[in-house]
Amino acid sequence: MKFKLLTLLIVFFLFEVHASSSNVEQNQIFKNIRCLVCQGQSIADSNSDFAQTIKLVIKDKIKEGKTEKEIYNFLIEKYGQWIVYKPPMNGSNFLFWLFPYLIFIAGGVVIIMFFKKKENN
């Protein structure tokens, strides 16, 4: 009985993943783009002319059927990596994305080392 329930839940999850990945969220993109003329704001939060312009550009790109990634790449090419809040996972940034997890694993190892000492005693 329990297993049936569990399988049902897993299927439900998988369905959800599928459902969530299908549409391009305009606001999501706005939030990931820095307003270059503001102090630490995204274009979603800014009222500046710059933000308004970029918003229009993005809306057009969505209409053209561009994916989220293509839009980011387009803006990076034009304005540099400074414009996106999510650094692309490539080259030197790769280590940056990985580093927290390395620390996490290292921390886990340290804790396990505390256990090992017990066996020695």
């Binding site: 630490g40 995204s42 540099g80 996106v84 999510k86 927290p100 620390i103 804790i111 017990k118």
Partner: protein, 627 residues
């Protein structure tokens, strides 16, 4: 006149700091077991005089004495009296004075509240703390003196940045400072403990209440700042992963780790050096945060208070602190052999610390990596919310599971007797989760998992709570803080997932429809206030499904002194949801840009954080009662 008095008091304090250090060293030589009465006396005078010094500055702000540069730059005679007062610490110089006050008062309080601890330990704590006090006094005197004179005396001041003229922002700095400047006292105590070999559980008991004080206030301080940003900046969220917000979060992580590992040190007498490292780290991170904010290195909404020369001074001070503390730490460090049972409360506390360090490193990396990359390769990148959300939230899910199970574990050796109950709770959590998402018909795997894990913690804490009512020995403080943390994550998850956001351009008299909402731009009004003019829009929002009407009135304000344009969000909040609306004009047109947001459970996010901090205060009062 006030300027002279202030300078005099600053010099007096410098003198007193040196005197206290001198007498403390003298006193160390004497064989008497009690502290010399001179030290108490001078410490009392020191606290009193720094408070008078601060009130002198407050006085100068109240009477708008523009012969002081800091008053001239940050005040205006027409400003409401409340903001004249809060303007005292709404600027760099004044806020540094607040730093020194907290350093000094904590120094005095630590002295009088720890009489049961050895004289040597107390004296060294006092010595280290006074070195910190002197460091900041020199900074004030030579670089950032709030009492600096200005001639000829200007007739009018420049005024305080209007977005800082706000009640939340008036109390935000003092709360936050009690938090992270308060951590100085256990930095000093940790150094003293290393120097005097005063280790083990008695050291833990000497600092635990100070850790709780700073942790609880830090939590509140972050909360108030967050509330301010929510309604004042017009972004409509509670956390933006802004570099400066992050800087206040770093000490919070290490304080939280400390709150937990101190329990282990006190009960089991292990992890001494780890606790010391956390004590040192917390204050170092606090000073580092100040450095980042004041030097202008970070591009953030807080860069109002930046100047490179300040950065250099704090950086030098910071390096002294880091190298000094590391030097002493390495000299005294011994590799002690602990053994910990994998299934024990000790392990779970370590797991807490493990996650806290992970969060800390992640956030720190997010702050520093772009700075280093820019310095090394001239490559500018931004690290914002998507990075933190992607890296941190998945692990919060696992963290919440540990947080649920951990407190149930016993010291030394544990056996889980109630696994069945836990599985039952988990199933209940999953069921509730799917009911929520089924009703609202929107899906995301991360939100689901966050909601399940937080419900797991919440239900289990609630069961703990009802059981604890029957028992005589309860740990209500822990239950409340953990429960509230669960609630916080739950409401963040729901808030994030079910928020509605829509922005559009509209002109007066027009009506727009989207989803089941209808928004009508009804009126536009121009009003004159004493220190600003306002363009006030009146918009009617109609929820067609529920047939509810709400009127929101966002404003565009034009402040006179200094000339600034601000956008005031209109917020209608209740326990279920917030309606949030901002309006801005579009140049050379009659259209206005309107951003409408519906944010569910905002109020509960604030309530949860308040309760987390309340748990800390509760533990504190309990400790004080047993004291």
């Amino acid at each position: 006149m006030l300027s002279n008095l202030g300078n005099l008091l600053l010099f007096l304090n410098t003198f007193l700091g040196i005197t206290i250090i001198y007498y403390s060293f003298e006193n160390l030589k004497s064989s008497k077991s009690s502290l010399s009465s001179k030290i108490y006396k001078y410490s009392l005078i020191q606290s009193t005089s720094i408070i008078i010094c601060f009130f002198t500055l407050v006085g100068a702000f109240i009477i708008s004495d523009f012969s002081l540069v800091s008053v001239y730059q940050n005040s205006h005679s027409l400003k409401p009296i409340f903001y004249k007062i809060s303007g005292t610490w709404g600027n760099h110089e004044g806020s540094l004075l607040l730093w020194v006050i907290i350093l000094t008062i904590f120094s005095f309080l630590f002295l009088i509240f720890n009489k049961s601890h050895p004289k040597k330990f107390r004296l060294y704590t006092l010595i280290f703390q006074n070195f910190l006090i002197l460091g900041f006094l020199f900074f004030i005197l030579f670089n950032s003196n709030p009492f600096e004179n200005l001639t000829p005396i200007p007739l009018e001041g420049l005024g305080l940045n209007p977005i800082l003229q706000d009640p939340a922002l008036a109390i935000h700095p003092p709360l936050l400072y009690i938090g992270f400047v308060g951590s100085s006292i256990y930095f000093s105590a940790a150094m003293a403990s290393l120097v005097t070999n005063y280790s083990e559980s008695s050291f833990a008991s000497s600092i635990k209440n100070w850790v709780l004080i700073s942790w609880s206030f830090q939590t509140l301080g972050i909360l108030v700042g967050s509330i301010w940003a929510y309604y004042e900046l017009g972004w409509g969220g509670f956390w933006f992963w802004d570099p400066v917000e992050n800087a206040s979060l770093l000490p919070w992580f290490s304080m939280t780790a400390l709150v937990h590992s101190l329990i282990v040190l006190e009960k089991r007498n292990i992890l001494y050096f780890w606790v010391i490292i956390l004590c040192l780290l917390t204050f170092i991170l606090s000073v580092m945060g100040t450095f980042l904010v004041r030097s202008g290195i970070l591009n953030s909404v807080h860069t109002f208070a930046s100047d490179p020369s300040r950065g250099v001074y704090i950086l030098i001070f910071l390096s002294f602190m880091i190298f000094g503390s590391l030097f002493i730490l390495f000299r005294k460090y011994e590799n002690k052999k602990y053994f910990i049972n994998p299934n024990s409360k000790e392990t779970f506390v370590l797991v807490n610390n493990w996650f806290m360090m992970f969060y800390l490193v992640t956030v720190m990396l997010g702050i520093f990596y772009p700075i280093f990359l820019d310095a090394l390769t001239n490559n500018k990148i931004s690290v914002g919310p998507p990075f933190y959300n992607t890296v941190i939230f998945p692990l919060v899910i696992i963290f919440l599971f540990f947080m649920t199970i951990g407190p149930q574990a016993k010291w030394i050796k544990n056996r889980f007797e109630n696994i069945k109950i836990l599985i039952f709770i988990l199933l209940a959590a999953i069921l509730i989760n799917f009911t929520i998402f089924y009703i609202f018909k929107r899906y995301s795997i991360l939100s689901n998992l966050l909601v399940i894990s937080s419900l797991f913690l919440i239900i289990s804490s609630l069961i703990d709570f009802t059981q604890s009512l029957k028992k005589s020995k309860t740990d209500l403080a822990r239950i409340i803080s953990h429960l509230s943390f669960g609630l916080l994550v739950l409401f963040i998850g729901l808030n994030h997932h079910f928020a509605i956001e829509k922005d559009f351009n509209i002109k007066l008299g027009e009506t727009k429809n989207f989803k089941n909402y209808q928004i009508k731009f009804q009126e536009l009004e121009l009003k004159d206030y004493s220190n600003y003019k306002a363009v006030i829009g009146k918009l009617k929002i109609n929820d067609l499904k529920k047939n509810q009407e709400k009127i929101l009135t966002p404003e565009i304000r034009i402040y006179n002194n200094p000339q600034t344009l601000t956008y005031e969000a209109a917020i209608k909040s209740n326990l279920i949801e917030d309606y949030y609306l901002t309006m801005s004009n579009i140049d050379r047109s009659e259209y206005y840009n309107i951003k409408f947001q519906k944010k569910p459970f905002m109020m509960w996010i604030w309530i949860s954080v308040t309760m987390i901090s309340f748990g800390g205060f509760l533990r504190l009062f309990k400790n004080a009662k047993n004291y």
